[in-house]
Subunit: 440 residues, 2 copies
């Protein structure tokens, strides 16, 4: 190719022209090595916000970021490997349910998760509430746990897609975060570096999610499916509701308990429904089930037989966690006293703002306001009634698990302000908005 | 105001929101001092390309850049002072004609000019072809010449609007040059730092200009007039044709000669027409003439009386130039032999591409391909016939003033390729497209 010029590349992006894979690779390599100065990359990022990127360029960008550091070779497992990602929501412990179900059905699940920031929690934060659990694995140990347990639940390695980390840090200080192609590329670069064959994406939409509207969420989902497919991976996206918290528990140990209950056949309806749908999709994508209905039957059977919970217990133990705590929840971190907030009036619950609940949980200490904040695994909020249900005045609405009464009092009003009531029955918005199974 | 946040400023610009003067000033100050990193400024510049800037923000930006270094205080002259700027074209020696005319009519003219780059020449390069002439003046000397001669023709001081210089250097490497607000702000910041009361802007439009189309040129002109007016200066813009070279001479000493001929009552029609129009406007703007017709009469009289040429000779002498060379052109740099190119066929000249002529002159050594290239003051091209005129096959079309026959031969075909001929008479496009006298 002609000699790479970053100025020319910025100009072409600014004019909405396609760049080609060679230029994209030169850009990612140059930026990662530090040969391209940050000011040029920053101008390019803003041009991408403005004009977007051609689909092939976006796939090339994502693949180049994926190749910028360690990549895993999962082919030695000899079977298609599954991965699952959520864009983040309030009470979203779906991975803790889906991954063991799929693994119990014989499909290896290789999962690296991030930590939470703001009102959304992170899978790793939740798992770390289990005494002894260690998410920080070397590549060798990651492969070892995956091979032995058929499932691994690790923290994000810093050596995975370092170009993404460096690019994100620059986006964070240059007002270039909210670009759907860049968000999609950031997520997918890490998935491609892990290298699973089947990638299930859960794109949350609503007040508690990064994507507030269905068109935005659909665009992000379609963009990620296009990237994954373009990179030769089976990629499917589920767009699911985040206009209310998922399930009833919000907080780290509280969510682990709810996930375990669901793995054992209980748990809230919405969490079970979403987890079964996602597990079924992954079973179809990896060839373990002929169709979604069969996949869902396999998933239900994995729960009913106890195989799914056993798989979860196995992987927790394999990563140093206290298996006993999964059966005796008193061994998990918990608060001394729970404050129950009751309904101020009788009525149907018309809405529970996930942002209000997520921020209340964060203020209790379940989440981080700033990167590096420490979190309290015990605290959080548990809904006692949810959207669409009738509550009598004075009946329990939600429980506050706080370290003391002062912390509970501090968030009580804000959490309660997230509720809306109706005198007449309300329609509950569908949990699963749509499933995108092929690039558009 | 609230504490300044550059990230928030980038985000607001990206969303097309107004910033307010305080944020703009904090941005310019922070960037000039180096407190704001280049990567943030680069992202902001691309956001400005994308969204533009609110008119008040743009005026604030320009004034903040003007205040970033030395500013002149012209009030001690006790009279309105005039300034004139051209966006650059091929054969554009208008300043050399307008400034002495206006000064001869009693209006002081304070002019700082840049050097040429690419196919367009710079006023200072042209003046430096006069033996002894020194454009590099201290502020004290600048004021001294202005006070004594009523006219000063200086090079651009590096201490003038240093924020503009720093910003332009960043734009140059981040693909953020072609933004009309940023171009307008860059030009006007230097005008405001000089501080003249009346600013006449000549915005060139056409193949030989930076602005190729009338809508673009109009937008730039309107933007500059709005900035100047917003900053409390009388500001008028003339949009003039650059689809052909202006006048007949292209090259430094050659253009000085043509300017002198025009100051003495001769010279080409188009140059005289444009110079008289611009001089008349400046005379009206500074209150020296009641209206444009009266201004034009004064300008014609300044030429006819010899006062305009005398003023030019005075300022050249005041700045060290050889006054004798202005009367005896053999004392100006000149080539040993001139090559005349003749018409390949009979016909009307339908077009002379200013880019072809400007680039041919540059390749002869009259201009710079890159910053810092040295130029040859003697060389250039002189048109012997111009657009709309009939030429017989074999009649002189243009003269090449080259340092040797090889250089002449090297540009002959390219210059000739800039001509288009017609068998039928052609309409000559109007020289002056429009004059913008008030902000829109």
């Amino acid at each position: 190719m002609a000699e790479f010029s970053m100025v020319r590349t910025i100009e072409r992006t600014r004019q909405g022209e396609a760049l080609g894979a060679a230029a994209i690779e030169a850009l990612v390599d140059g930026f990662t090595r530090g040969d391209i100065p940050d000011y040029q990359t920053a101008a390019w990022l803003m041009a991408v916000l403005w004009r977007g990127l051609a689909p092939d360029d976006l796939t090339a960008l994502t693949m180049a970021m994926a190749r910028s550091g360690d990549t895993l070779d999962l082919s030695s497992l000899g079977r298609p490997v599954a991965d699952k990602h959520s864009t983040g929501g309030v009470g979203d412990k779906t991975t803790l349910v889906v991954a063991p179900i799929v693994a119990a059905c014989g499909v290896p699940v290789a999962k690296m998760s991030g930590r939470g920031l703001g009102h959304t929690g992170g899978t790793i934060d939740k798992l770390e509430s289990i005494p002894g659990f260690d998410p920080e694995l070397t590549v060798a140990r990651f492969m070892d746990v995956l091979r032995t347990s058929g499932l691994v639940l690790a923290g994000q390695s810093a050596d995975l897609a370092p170009a993404d980390g460096k690019l994100y840090a620059l986006r964070d200080v240059t007002g270039t975060v909210p670009s759907i192609p860049l968000i999609a590329s950031s997520i997918m670069s890490k998935k491609l570096a892990i290298g699973a064959d089947a990638i299930l994406l859960d794109v949350k939409v609503g007040r508690g999610a990064f994507m507030r509207t269905l068109p935005e969420a659909t665009k992000l989902a379609e963009t990620m499916v296009r990237i994954g497919t373009g990179a030769g991976k089976q990629t499917v996206a589920v767009i699911s509701d985040m206009d209310r918290p998922l399930g009833r528990a919000v907080g780290n140990a509280l969510e682990v308990i709810e996930a375990i209950e669901t793995l054992r056949g209980g748990g809230p309806d919405d969490l079970r429904t979403l987890a079964l749908h996602e597990a079924a999709l992954l079973l179809v994508m990896t060839g373990a089930a002929p169709d979604e209905a069969a996949g869902e039957r396999m998933a239900r059977e994995a729960i009913a037989s106890g195989a799914a919970f056993a798989k979860f217990a196995d992987v927790i133990a394999a990563q140093g966690g206290d298996r006993h705590a999964l059966e005796d929840f008193s061994s998990l971190p918990h608060v001394a006293a729970v404050q129950t907030v009751t309904a101020p009036a009788s009525g149907y619950i018309a809405a529970i703002d996930p942002l209000a609940i997520g921020q209340a949980a964060m203020h209790l200490g379940a989440g981080r306001e700033r990167k590096g904040d420490t979190i309290d695994p015990a605290v959080g909020i548990v809904l006692r009634a949810t959207v669409g249900e009738w509550v009598e005045r004075g009946a329990p609405l939600f429980d506050i698990h706080a370290r003391d009464a002062a912390h509970a009092a501090a968030v009580r009003a804000d959490a309660l302000a997230g509720y809306r009531f109706s005198e007449t029955p309300v329609a509950v918005p569908p949990l699963i908005k749509t499933t995108i199974t092929a690039p558009t």
